[in-house]
C-alpha cells in the first residue's frame, strides 16, 4: 500500500526541515526542542516504513528510538537547568 511509503517519505522530509532549527536555533533550548521532535518524527516514519515493507524489526527500532529520545531530552534538560 503506497500511502504508508508516502507518509514515511514526508516524515523524512520533515526531519530534514527540522535540522534547520537544530543548526541555527538561538539558544540551547531551541536546539533541544527540535532534537526531541526529530526523534519523534523519525520513530513515526520508521513505524510507517515497517508496515510498508512488512519487516516488523523496524517497529522495535522505532520503540527504542522514542525511548532514547525521551531519556536524552530529560537528561540534557536537567543539565541545562544546572542540577546534574
Amino acid at each position: 500500500m503506497i500511502e504508508l511509503l508516502i507518509a514515511a517519505i514526508i516524515c523524512v522530509v520533515l526531519d530534514l526541515v527540522l535540522l534547520v532549527r537544530v543548526l541555527n536555533g538561538p539558544t540551547a533550548a531551541d536546539r533541544l526542542c527540535a532534537t526531541d521532535a526529530v526523534t519523534l518524527v523519525t520513530a513515526l516514519g520508521l513505524a510507517m516504513y515497517s508496515l510498508y515493507t512488512g519487516r516488523i524489526i523496524y517497529l522495535d527500532i522505532a520503540l527504542v528510538d522514542a525511548a532514547l529520545g525521551f531519556i536524552g531530552t530529560v537528561f540534557v534538560s536537567r543539565y541545562l537547568e544546572g542540577r546534574l
Binding site: 500500500m1 514526508i10 533550548a29 508496515l51 520503540l63 531530552t73 541545562l80
Partner: protein
C-alpha cells in the same frame, strides 16, 4: 482489503501527516522558545495518535504481517503519549532557568511566585 477500509486508513494517515506538518512549521516559524515548545506538542499528541491509528487499522485489516504487530504499535503510541509531557515539562523548566525568556515583556509569570529558590 476492501475499499472502505483503505479510505479510512488514508484519511487517518492524512490527518496525522497534517498535524505533524503543523508541529514542524510551528517549530520553524514561532518567535521564542515557549512558542516553539507549545507548537511542537502537535507532533506527539495528534500526529502520533492518527498516524499510529492508521497503522493499527492497516495491521488488523491485512493479516500478512507477523502476529503482535498492532500490539507493538499500541505500545509505541502509549509510550510516546505518556513520556512526552515529562520531557516537555523538563525542557520548559530548563528554558526558564537558563534565561531564554521572550523578548516582549511577559504579561503573567506565575512560576516566579512559586519558585522555591
Amino acid at each position: 482489503m476492501s475499499m472502505t477500509i483503505r479510505v479510512i486508513i488514508d484519511i487517518l494517515l492524512a490527518i496525522g501527516v497534517f498535524f505533524t506538518l503543523v508541529g514542524v512549521l510551528g517549530i520553524i516559524r514561532m518567535p521564542d522558545v515557549f512558542g516553539r515548545l507549545q507548537a511542537s506538542t502537535c507532533i506527539p499528541s495528534l500526529g502520533n495518535i492518527f498516524l499510529i491509528a492508521g497503522g493499527i487499522v492497516y495491521a488488523i485489516a491485512t493479516n500478512v504481517t507477523e502476529p503482535g504487530t498492532y500490539v507493538k504499535l499500541a505500545v509505541i503510541l502509549l509510550m510516546v503519549l505518556l513520556t512526552n509531557p515529562i520531557s516537555g515539562h523538563a525542557l520548559c523548566k530548563a528554558a526558564y532557568k537558563m534565561g531564554a525568556l521572550p523578548k516582549s515583556k511577559m504579561v503573567i509569570d506565575d512560576y516566579k511566585e512559586d519558585d522555591p529558590e
